[in-house]
């Protein structure tokens, strides 16, 4: 199991709070292969949750619109 990839998934997950991030980062060394695979599966699946995507795309839209509007006004 690629723990670097898992560490990155934990750091980037939008469903985790900072406290949870710390908990899972510290738990990694204690976890077996199956558990690591399960954690990866949960976090990858959570990345696809529409809510998370909605927020990301919403900000993407807002920033693009803002960029467009601001440059149009310049």
């Amino acid at each position: 199991m690629d723990t670097a990839k898992l560490t990155q998934l934990i750091a980037e997950s939008n469903i985790l709070t900072d406290a949870e991030r710390e908990y899972w980062s510290q738990s990694l060394p204690k976890m077996n292969e199956a558990q690591l695979a399960k954690l990866e599966q949960i976090l990858v699946k959570a990345r696809q949750i529409p809510w998370t995507e909605q927020i990301q795309k919403y900000f993407s839209m807002i920033t693009k619109s803002a960029k467009s509007a601001v440059s149009g006004a310049a």
Binding site: P50, F59, S60, M61, T63, S65
Partner: protein, 415 residues
């Protein structure tokens, strides 16, 4: 970060396309301002106490859906390769799935939010199970949930804050986020408004679903405890929590529940108690039924009071006193008697009066012996007009009531 809003409409030379964009943006701005107003009114606004929470949320949701439609129309007018149009299509897909081109209704938005919260909560449960497996100890799952599980509102906050924080830390995104925030500000929208809107929306939506009540119940209890001082918090015993949960269950089980009547934790006489506003209101209503409305002996709310045999009594209407007896109404120093305009010999008297609430005597119903009725404030309005228009010593006025026209005159009653 620029300190002043950069409004696109302030550009020195606008092309027709830019003007069209600005028109659409102004329209969206108006919708968002309306949304903001709905959010600011909040669920506990006094003027909408009866059903305020639900109405405000419904209004806000409708406004959001309307703004969504406007935004869709605006982006459809852009060129096929315009990045803003492509970004919008992405947003539509995220919000509504594959319904681009279909109606962006309130239910579509609610469903999207509901699904997202449900899936987020499921992911949280999976993490708790995994934590239990890793710890391999009894109670580890619950311990994880107790330690990390967030209420829906905290989850929403957390997701939004995570994304914002990451964007601000990114050297490429940070300036754009700043500009986006300025754009929001120029539209009169603060991001806190948007977040608060979603919080209320999610809470009220979840409270309408029995399956989710337990989840929101925890969040509501935490809200109540958070309002207390540290000393008061120490008085929240397991028994108090249990009482509050039972009260919340009673409230949430009522299909006609009113948002502002959720159970509360309050200090009364030095003790922390669970208050159920809905029950208190019922008790107050019962008590109200047993006191004399407006100090008039024997007058009960919503119970007709016969005037026959009763001495004249006075109430305040439209800033002045009005005296009522069976056969006449005293106003402005004049005693008005009533007759039928078309059959002047038919003397008309007041049969009963009925207090409709405990606050405003003007809303009392005045019923005549011929069956017609009107409110006291309406009747007094006619009499005040008669006094204002009077010629000589007698004031007269015709009062249409139902299918009959009454004639009221002071001094003497004539046809």
């Amino acid at each position: 970060m620029p300190t002043s809003p950069q409004r696109p409409s302030e550009g020195p030379q606008e092309s027709p396309k830019q003007k069209e964009r600005m028109g659409a943006l102004e329209s969206i701005k108006a919708q968002l301002a309306s949304l903001r107003a709905a959010v600011e009114r909040g669920p506990a606004a006094p003027e909408s106490r009866e059903t305020g929470g639900q109405q405000s949320a419904a209004e806000a949701m409708n406004t959001l859906a309307e703004a969504f439609q406007k935004a869709r129309g605006f982006h459809e007018g852009l060129g096929a390769t315009d990045p803003a149009r492509q970004a919008w299509l992405n947003v539509e897909q995220a919000f509504l799935g594959n319904t681009a081109g279909g109606p962006a209704g309130v239910e579509d938005l609610q469903r999207g939010i509901e699904d997202a919260v449900e899936q987020t909560d499921a992911a949280q449960q999976d993490l708790a199970k995994l934590a239990g497996d890793v710890a391999d100890e009894e109670g580890a799952v619950q311990e994880y949930l107790d330690r990390f599980r967030l209420s829906p509102v905290q989850r929403v906050d957390s997701v939004i804050d995570n994304v914002l924080q990451k964007a601000r830390q990114n050297e490429n995104l940070a300036p754009i986020v700043s500009k986006a925030e300025n754009l929001f500000r120029s539209l009169g929208i603060s991001f806190d408004d948007v977040k608060n809107f979603f919080k209320q929306l999610i809470f009220e939506k979840l409270e309408s679903l029995p399956i989710r009540v337990g989840l929101v119940e925890d969040a509501r209890l935490r809200e109540q405890v958070a309002r207390l001082t540290d000393a008061q918090k120490r008085m929240v015993t397991p028994e108090i929590e249990q009482q509050w949960r039972q009260a919340y269950y009673r409230w949430s089980s009522n299909p006609d529940k009113v948002v502002v009547q959720r159970p509360l934790l309050e200090m009364r006489n030095g003790k922390l108690v669970v208050v159920e506003p809905a029950l208190e209101q019922q008790t107050a209503a019962v008590a109200q039924e047993n006191i004399d409305a407006f100090g008039v002996s024997g007058m009960r709310l919503n119970q007709p009071l016969p005037l026959e045999g009763r001495p004249k009594f006075y109430v305040q209407v439209s800033g002045a006193g009005a005296g009522l007896t069976l056969g006449e109404v005293e106003r402005g120093g004049k005693n008005f008697k009533f007759a039928d305009k078309n059959t002047p010999a038919t003397r008309i008297t007041i049969s009963t009066i009925t207090a409709k609430n405990a606050a405003d005597p003007g809303q009392m119903e005045v019923k005549f012996n011929t069956g017609e009725a009107l409110t006291l404030v309406q009747l007094i309005g006619h009499l005040d007009k008669a006094i204002a228009d009077q010629r000589g010593g007698e004031a007269q006025v015709e009062i249409p009531v139902g299918t009959r026209t009454l004639r009221a005159s002071s001094g003497q009653t004539t046809a």
